[in-house]
C-alpha cells in the first residue's frame, strides 16, 4: 500500500455520488453504498499495513495548489487520524446500508449528499494544510445542511437547520478568520506565507497573537463538538434529523471539531493552549456534569443520547487540554469509541421507536426485552460500553483521560469523575425503561430484524474486540498524538513547577456575577494571569490586527465579522454561573 494515493480514498465517495446522480435510483444507492464499503476496506488495509516504526505521515500527497497563497493540496495519514478514518468509514457504511434498505425520497440527491459529506469529512481528517482543512471543514456544512433540512422530520427541520447552519457557519467564519490570520501572521521576515501544518508548527507567534487566534478556533470547535453553553443547535437538530444522518452528525461530525484542537490548535498555538488550559477544562467539566444531568432528565431516548454526547465530548476535550500524553491518547481513544457506540445506539433507538408505535419517548416504551432477546443483548453491550464499564474500549479512553487530568488538575478530574457515575444512571435508565418493566401500551416486542442486526451487531463486535485489545489503536496513535501536546505540555509543566516553587497565592477575583452584567471586554482580566494581551481579546480590538503589513484593516471579515465574533467571545464569561467559577483559575 506504500504508493497508495490518498486522494482516491477521499474522493471515491464523491465520484460515486456524482456518477450515481445520472444512473437509475436502484443503481445509485448501491453505487454509493459500495463506495463507502470500498473506503472501509481501504482504511482497514491501512490499519493492518500501518508502520508505526517509521513515524510521521504516511501516504502523503503534497502538491502546490494556490501557490500565491502558499496553499498546498496536502493530505496524509498518521496515528492521530488513522482510526478516525476508520470511524468515518464505519459510520458511513452503516448509514448508507440502512438508507438503502429504507424508503427514501429523492434517492439520487440523498445519496449524492451522503457521498459528498463523506468526502468532506475524510478530507478534513486527512488534510495537512490548514487552508485545505478549513475548506473541507466548511464543505461538510453543505451536504449536512441539506440532509438535515431535506430528509428530516418536517415540522421542526426548518428551525433546526437554521440553528445548525447559523451556529456552524458562525463557527466556520471565526475559524476562517483565525486560519487566515495564522497563515499571514506567522510568516516572518523573508518567509513566504504557508498553511502547512508542519510548517506552522515550526514558526512561532507572539503569545498575544496566539491568544486571540486560539479563541477564534476554540469557538468554532466548541460549537462543533458541542460543549456547554454553545450547544444550542443540538436539541432541534437531534429531534429533526433522520436516523442515518443523526448517526453521522453525532458519531463523526462532532469529532472533527475536537480533532481540530489536537491537530491544529494545541500544536500550533501551544502558548495559548497553555494560557487557556484552565478555562477550556472548566468548560469541559461543566459540559460533563451538565450534559449528564440533563441526559437523565430527558424523556425522549434521542435526547438522552444528545445530551450524553455533550458530556462525552466534554471528556474528550478534557483529555486534550490535560496537555499530557495520557490525556491526549485517552482523548483519541474516546473519540473513536464514542463514535463507535453512537452508531449502533441510534439504530437501536430507531428499532425501539418502531416497536413503541413510532414514539421515541421512554414513557411509551417498556418490556421489549422478552420478545427481542437478541436486540436486548446487543443493546446491553452497547449500553455498558457507552457508560464506559471497565473492559470496554470506552473505559480505556476515560481511564487515560482521567489519569492525564489527575496529574495536574486533580480537582477538575475528581469533579469529572462524577460524570462517570451519572453516565451509569442515564444509560441504564434508557436500557431499563425501554427493555425492562411492564410492556407499555401499544408496544410490540418484536425481535430484531435482519437489517437491524446487520447494522448493530458488526459494530458491537468491533467494540468488543477493541475492548479486548485496545492496544491496536493506542499503539498506532501514540507517536503522532503525543507529539501534538508535547510543547503545550512542556509549558504547563514548567509553569506548574514555577508556581509550586514560588507559592504565589491565586489572584483574588470577584464573586461570580450574572453573565449579562459582565461586559465582553471585561473577560480578559479573568483569564489566567499571563494571558499576554488582554486588550486583543475583545473582538472589536482584535480585528484590526489581523493583517499586519498587509495594511487594510477592512481585510478582516468586514462589518459582519465583528458582531458575529461577539457571541463566542462572550461565551467564556457566561460559563461562570452555569457551572462553577472560571474565576478560580490558578496561576
Amino acid at each position: 500500500m506504500g504508493a497508495f494515493h490518498l486522494s482516491i480514498l477521499v474522493f471515491l465517495p464523491l465520484a460515486a455520488g456524482v456518477v450515481g446522480a445520472f444512473v437509475p435510483e436502484r443503481v445509485s444507492r448501491w453505487l454509493v453504498t459500495a463506495a463507502t464499503v470500498a473506503v472501509l476496506v481501504i482504511v482497514v488495509a491501512m490499519i493492518a499495513d500501518f508502520d508505526k516504526e517509521s513515524g510521521g505521515l504516511h501516504y502523503v500527497t503534497d502538491d502546490g495548489w494556490i501557490s500565491e497563497l502558499g496553499i498546498r493540496y496536502s493530505l496524509g495519514v498518521d496515528g492521530l487520524n488513522l482510526f478516525l478514518l476508520f470511524l468515518t468509514a464505519v459510520a458511513w457504511v452503516f448509514a448508507a446500508v440502512w438508507s438503502s434498505f429504507r424508503e427514501t425520497e429523492r434517492i439520487r440527491l440523498y445519496f449524492f449528499h451522503l457521498a459528498l459529506a463523506e468526502t468532506a469529512v475524510l478530507g478534513a481528517f486527512t488534510a495537512q494544510d490548514l487552508a485545505l482543512f478549513v475548506i473541507f471543514f466548511d464543505l461538510m456544512l453543505v451536504p449536512f445542511y441539506f440532509l438535515i433540512g431535506g430528509w428530516g422530520e418536517e415540522e421542526i427541520s426548518v428551525a433546526a437547520t437554521t440553528k445548525f447552519v447559523i451556529y456552524t457557519l458562525v463557527g466556520s467564519l471565526l475559524m476562517l478568520a483565525g486560519a487566515v490570520a495564522l497563515g499571514a501572521l506567522s510568516a516572518g521576515e523573508g518567509q513566504s506565507i504557508s498553511f502547512s501544518l508542519a510548517e506552522l508548527q515550526k514558526r512561532s507567534l507572539p503569545e498575544g497573537t496566539q491568544n486571540w487566534i486560539f479563541l477564534l478556533f476554540a469557538a468554532a470547535f466548541l460549537v462543533k463538538a458541542p460543549l456547554f453553553p454553545l450547544h444550542g443547535w443540538v436539541p432541534d437538530t437531534y429531534r429533526a434529523s433522520s436516523i442515518p444522518v443523526l448517526v453521522l452528525v453525532s458519531a463523526v461530525l462532532s469529532k472533527v471539531g475536537v480533532y481540530g484542537f489536537l491537530r491544529v490548535v494545541v500544536p500550533i498555538l501551544p502558548d495559548a493552549a497553555h494560557t487557556f488550559q484552565t478555562l477550556i477544562i472548566v468548560i469541559a467539566v461543566v459540559s460533563i456534569i451538565y450534559g449528564s444531568v440533563l441526559a437523565f432528565s430527558q424523556v425522549d431516548a434521542r435526547m438522552v443520547v444528545a445530551y450524553s454526547s455533550i458530556a462525552q465530548l466534554g471528556f474528550i476535550v478534557l483529555g486534550i487540554f490535560a496537555l499530557d500524553p495520557k490525556g491526549a491518547q485517552g482523548a483519541v481513544m474516546q473519540m473513536v469509541t464514542h463514535g463507535l457506540v453512537i452508531v449502533p445506539l441510534f439504530f437501536i433507538i430507531a428499532a425501539l421507536t418502531v416497536r413503541a408505535g413510532g414514539s421515541g419517548s421512554l414513557e411509551r416504551m417498556g418490556g421489549i426485552a422478552f420478545g427481542a432477546p437478541v436486540l436486548a443483548t446487543l443493546f446491553l453491550v452497547i449500553t455498558l460500553a457507552t457508560l464506559a464499564i471497565p473492559g470496554s474500549p470506552n473505559f480505556v479512553g476515560e481511564f487515560l483521560i482521567l489519569f492525564g487530568v489527575f496529574e495536574d488538575k486533580l480537582v477538575f478530574g475528581l469533579v469529572a469523575s462524577a460524570g462517570v457515575a451519572l453516565a451509569a444512571v442515564y444509560m441504564i435508565r434508557v436500557f431499563q425503561r425501554s427493555m425492562h418493566n411492564r410492556v407499555a401500551e401499544g408496544v410490540q416486542p418484536r425481535e430484531a430484524g435482519r437489517l437491524e442486526i446487520g447494522v448493530i451487531a458488526p459494530v458491537a463486535a468491533v467494540i468488543v474486540a477493541l475492548g479486548v485489545y485496545p492496544q491496536l489503536l493506542l499503539d498506532r496513535s501514540e507517536e503522532a498524538t503525543v507529539s501534538k501536546v508535547r510543547e503545550a505540555g512542556r509549558l504547563a509543566d514548567a509553569s506548574g513547577d514555577a508556581a509550586a516553587s514560588e507559592q504565589v497565592p491565586a489572584a483574588p477575583t470577584p464573586v461570580p456575577g450574572t453573565p449579562q452584567q459582565v461586559p465582553p471586554g471585561a473577560g480578559a482580566p479573568q483569564v489566567p494571569p499571563g494571558a499576554g494581551a488582554p486588550q486583543q481579546v475583545p473582538p472589536g480590538a482584535g480585528a484590526p490586527q489581523v493583517p499586519p503589513g498587509a495594511g487594510a484593516p477592512e481585510q478582516v471579515p468586514p462589518g459582519a465579522g465583528a458582531p458575529q465574533e461577539a457571541p463566542p467571545g462572550v461565551a467564556p464569561e457566561q460559563v461562570a454561573p452555569g457551572g462553577g467559577a472560571p474565576q478560580e483559575v490558578q496561576p
Binding site: 437554521t162 464499564i389 489527575f406 410492556v439 485489545y469 493506542l474 487594510a552 462589518g559
Partner: protein
C-alpha cells in the same frame, strides 16, 4: 500444566459456558443449559484444584506466579498487561468461589426449572463467576477493575432478572450505580498509587510503596480510602450499603451466590490483597476497622426487626462482612479470610433453605406469615438449622471458630481495638438472637396453613404476587409463579444443600487454634511480609475468646427461645414499649430517606431546573436567540439585494467571506 496455565483454564471454563448458554438459548432442550453452566463451573473448580497442587509443589517463597497473556495497553508511560497472579490468596479464593458457585448452579437447575429465562439465567450466572474469578486472579488494578465492574454488571442483571417487576428494576439500577461509585473510587485510588510508584500491577506497587511513602503519608491514606470506597460499595458497608437489601429482588439462588457467598466479599479480598498499603497507612486501616464494626452492629440491629425472611439474611450478610472487614483491617488476614470461607458455606446454605421455605409459602417472604414447617420440611429444617447454628457461632460449628478468631485478634491489638472487640462480641449475641428468631418463627410454633397442606402432600399455590408490593406479577417473563420447588422434592436442591450443611458443620476444623492451622499456614506466603505476622494472640487467649464467644452465642439463642417460644406475648409488649426504637430500626436507620433527600432529589431537581431554566432561558433564548438575532439583523440589511431567505443568505455569506479572504490574501502575498 503450570499453575498459571490452570489459572487461565479457571477463567476459560465459565466464559465458554456463558457463550454456549447465551448462543444456544433457543436450541438447548430441557435443563441442558443448567447442566452446561454447572459443568463449566465444575471445570473451574477442578482447574482451581490443579492450581492448588501445582502451587504446593513450589517452595513457599516461590508461590507467587504472574503470567501475562498480552499487553492490554501500553501508552504514555502507562503499562498494563492482561495478566493473572496465582498465589495462595488467589487460589484460596478461587476454590471457595468456584466450589460454592458450583453447588449453587446445581441448586438453581431445580429452583429455576420452568422459568422462561432459564438459559439466560445460566448465561448470566456463568458470566458472574467468570467476572468474580477474573477479579480474584487479576495481577494489576486495571484487570481488577474489569472483573470488579463486570461483577457489578452481572449483579445488576441478576437483581433485575425478573425485569417486569418494577421493584426489581429499581433495585437493579440502585445496585449498579452504587457499584459504579465504587469503581470510580478504585480508579482514583489506582491513579494515586500510579502517580507515586509508576506501576499499576501489585508487584510493582508493593515493591515501590515503601520507598514512595512514609507511614501515614497523606497521599497513601487518600489512596487507601479510595480503595475502601470501592471495597465498601461492593461489600455493602456503611454508608454504601443501601443496595444490598434491595438486591433481594433477584432469584433466591442469586442472593445466595452473589449477595451472600461471593461478590459481596470482594471488598474483604481487596483489603487483604492490598494489605501492604494498609499496613503503611494504619490510619486508613483503622478507619476501615471502625466502619466494619459500625456496619456489623447496624446490620445486626436491623436484622433483629426485619420481617422479610430474605432481608433478614441480607442484613446478616452485611453484618458478617463487617466482621471480615474488621478482621482484615486489624491485620488478622487469615482469620478474616477464614470467616469469608465459613460464611460462604453457611450463608449460601441459609439462602438455599430460605428459597425452599419461600417456595413452600408460594412466594411469600414475610416471617409474620410463616411457622411450623418443621414436620413438613424436615430436610430444609435440619440444614437451615445447621446454617443458623454456624451463623450464631454455636460451639464447634464453623462460624464459631472463624468469628471468634477475628475478635481474638482484635482484642490482642489492644488500645482502642478492645472497644471494637467488645462491640463485636455484643453484636454476635444479636447475631445468635436473630438467627434463631428465624429458625423459631419459620419452623416452630403451630403450622400455618401452607405447612399443614404440605404435611398432606400439597404444595401451596397462590397467584404470584410481588412480595414487596403485593401487586400481581407479570408471569410472562417467567417469574416462578405456577411452579415452586422445595428441597424435599428436588434432588438437585438437596444435592447442593447437603454438602454445604456438612461444610458449615465441619468447615471450622481447618483452623482450630494450635491443632490444625492448615489454612493460616497455607496463606502464610501471601502475608509473610506483614509487620503483624509475628504478633498473634496466644492459644490461651484464643481459647478464652472461644469460650466467651460460646457463652454469648448460647445466650443469644436462649434469649430468642425465651422471646419467640416461651413468652410469645413478650415480643409485642417490647415492640409497644419501644415503638420509637422499633420504628427507627425497622426503617433501617432512615438511610434510604436521607439519601433521597440529599442526593436523589437535588439531582432530579437540578435536572428539571437545567431543562426548564438553563436550556430554555439561557442557552436557547440568550445564546441562540442572540446569535440568530445578530445574523438576522445582518440579513435584513442585505435583504434588498437578495431573497432575504435566511439559508440562502447563509450560503452566500459563506461563499462571500471565503472569496474575500482569498482575495485579500492574494493581494497580501503579491
Amino acid at each position: 500444566m503450570s499453575a498459571t496455565g490452570f489459572g487461565w483454564l479457571v477463567l476459560a471454563f465459565p466464559i465458554a459456558g456463558m457463550l454456549v448458554c447465551a448462543l444456544g438459548y433457543r436450541k438447548l432442550p430441557g435443563h441442558s443449559a443448567g447442566w452446561i453452566g454447572s459443568l463449566a463451573i465444575l471445570g473451574s473448580f477442578a482447574a482451581s484444584i490443579g492450581m492448588l497442587f501445582d502451587l504446593l509443589d513450589h517452595p513457599e517463597e516461590e508461590r507467587e506466579l504472574v503470567d501475562a497473556a498480552f499487553t492490554y495497553f501500553e501508552t504514555a508511560g502507562v503499562n498494563v498487561d492482561l495478566s493473572i497472579l496465582v498465589d495462595p490468596l488467589s487460589v484460596f479464593m478461587c476454590l471457595v468461589v468456584s466450589g460454592v458457585s458450583f453447588l449453587i448452579h446445581v441448586y438453581s437447575v431445580a429452583y429455576m426449572d420452568g422459568d422462561e429465562g432459564f438459559a439466560r439465567y445460566f448465561a448470566y450466572l456463568n458470566f458472574f463467576v467468570f467476572s468474580m474469578l477474573l477479579l480474584i486472579l487479576a495481577a494489576n488494578f486495571v484487570v481488577l477493575l474489569v472483573g470488579w465492574a463486570f461483577v457489578g454488571a452481572a449483579s445488576y442483571l441478576l437483581i433485575s432478572f425478573w425485569y417486569r417487576r418494577t421493584t426489581a428494576t429499581r433495585a437493579g439500577i440502585k445496585a449498579f450505580v452504587i457499584n459504579v461509585i465504587g469503581d470510580i473510587g478504585l480508579v482514583i485510588g489506582a491513579f494515586l498509587l500510579f502517580d507515586a510508584t509508576g506501576a499499576l500491577d501489585y508487584e510493582g506497587i508493593f515493591a515501590e510503596v515503601n520507598n514512595a511513602f512514609s507511614t501515614n503519608d497523606g497521599t497513601l491514606v487518600a489512596a487507601c480510602l479510595m480503595i475502601l470506597v470501592g471495597a465498601f460499595a461492593k461489600s455493602a458497608q456503611l454508608p454504601l450499603h443501601t443496595w444490598l437489601p434491595d438486591a433481594m429482588e433477584g432469584p433466591t439462588p442469586v442472593s445466595s451466590l452473589i449477595h451472600a457467598a461471593t461478590m459481596v466479599t470482594a471488598g474483604v479480598y481487596l483489603i487483604a490483597r492490598t494489605h501492604p498499603l494498609f499496613e503503611l497507612a494504619p490510619l486508613a486501616a483503622d478507619i476501615s476497622a471502625v466502619i466494619g464494626t459500625a456496619t456489623l452492629v447496624f446490620a445486626a440491629t436491623v436484622a433483629v426487626v426485619a420481617t422479610d425472611l430474605k432481608r433478614v439474611i441480607a442484613y446478616s450478610t452485611m453484618s458478617q462482612i463487617g466482621y471480615m472487614i474488621l478482621g482484615v483491617s486489624v491485620a488478622a488476614y487469615g482469620a478474616g479470610l477464614f470467616h469469608l470461607m465459613t460464611h460462604a458455606f453457611f450463608k449460601a446454605l441459609l439462602f438455599m433453605g430460605a428459597g425452599s421455605v419461600i417456595a413452600a409459602m408460594a412466594g411469600n417472604q414475610s416471617l409474620d406469615r410463616m411457622g411450623g414447617f418443621r414436620k413438613s420440611m424436615p430436610f430444609t429444617f435440619v440444614t437451615f438449622t445447621v446454617g443458623a447454628l454456624a451463623l450464631a457461632g454455636f460451639p464447634l460449628f464453623s462460624g464459631f471458630f472463624s468469628k471468634d478468631e477475628i475478635l481474638a485478634f482484635t482484642l490482642h491489638r489492644g488500645g482502642g481495638f478492645v472497644v471494637l472487640a467488645v462491640v463485636g462480641y455484643l453484636a454476635s449475641g444479636l447475631t445468635a438472637f436473630y438467627a434463631f428468631r428465624m429458625v423459631f418463627r419459620v419452623f416452630f410454633r403451630p403450622p400455618v396453613s401452607e405447612a399443614r397442606e404440605l404435611e398432606h402432600g400439597h404444595l401451596a399455590h397462590a397467584d404470584p404476587q410481588n412480595p414487596a408490593t403485593g401487586e400481581p406479577e407479570d408471569t410472562g417473563v417467567g417469574f416462578p409463579g405456577p411452579e415452586h420447588h422445595i428441597a424435599e422434592r428436588s434432588w438437585p436442591m438437596k444435592a447442593a444443600m447437603g454438602p454445604l450443611a456438612l461444610l458449615a458443620l465441619v468447615g471450622g476444623f481447618v483452623a482450630v487454634p494450635g491443632l490444625t492451622d492448615t489454612l493460616e499456614h497455607f496463606l502464610e506466603p501471601t502475608f509473610a511480609e506483614s509487620r503483624f505476622a509475628e504478633s498473634v494472640p496466644s492459644h490461651g487467649a484464643e481459647y478464652a475468646g472461644l469460650g466467651v464467644g460460646a457463652l454469648v452465642a448460647i445466650g443469644g439463642i436462649a434469649l430468642a427461645f425465651f422471646v419467640y417460644m416461651s413468652r410469645r406475648a413478650l415480643r409485642l409488649e417490647l415492640r409497644e414499649r419501644f415503638t420509637t426504637v422499633h420504628t427507627f430500626l425497622f426503617r433501617k436507620w432512615y438511610f434510604d430517606e436521607i439519601y433521597n433527600a440529599t442526593v436523589v432529589r437535588p439531582m432530579t431537581a437540578f435536572g428539571v431546573f437545567g431543562r426548564n431554566v438553563i436550556e430554555a432561558d439561557f442557552v436557547q433564548n440568550t445564546i441562540v436567540g442572540g446569535t440568530v438575532g445578530i445574523v438576522r439583523a445582518g440579513s435584513s440589511m442585505a435583504r434588498a439585494i437578495q431573497s432575504g431567505y435566511l439559508r440562502g443568505y447563509a450560503a452566500l455569506l459563506l461563499v462571500g467571506m471565503t472569496g474575500l479572504g482569498l482575495y485579500f490574501l492574494i493581494t497580501a502575498a503579491g
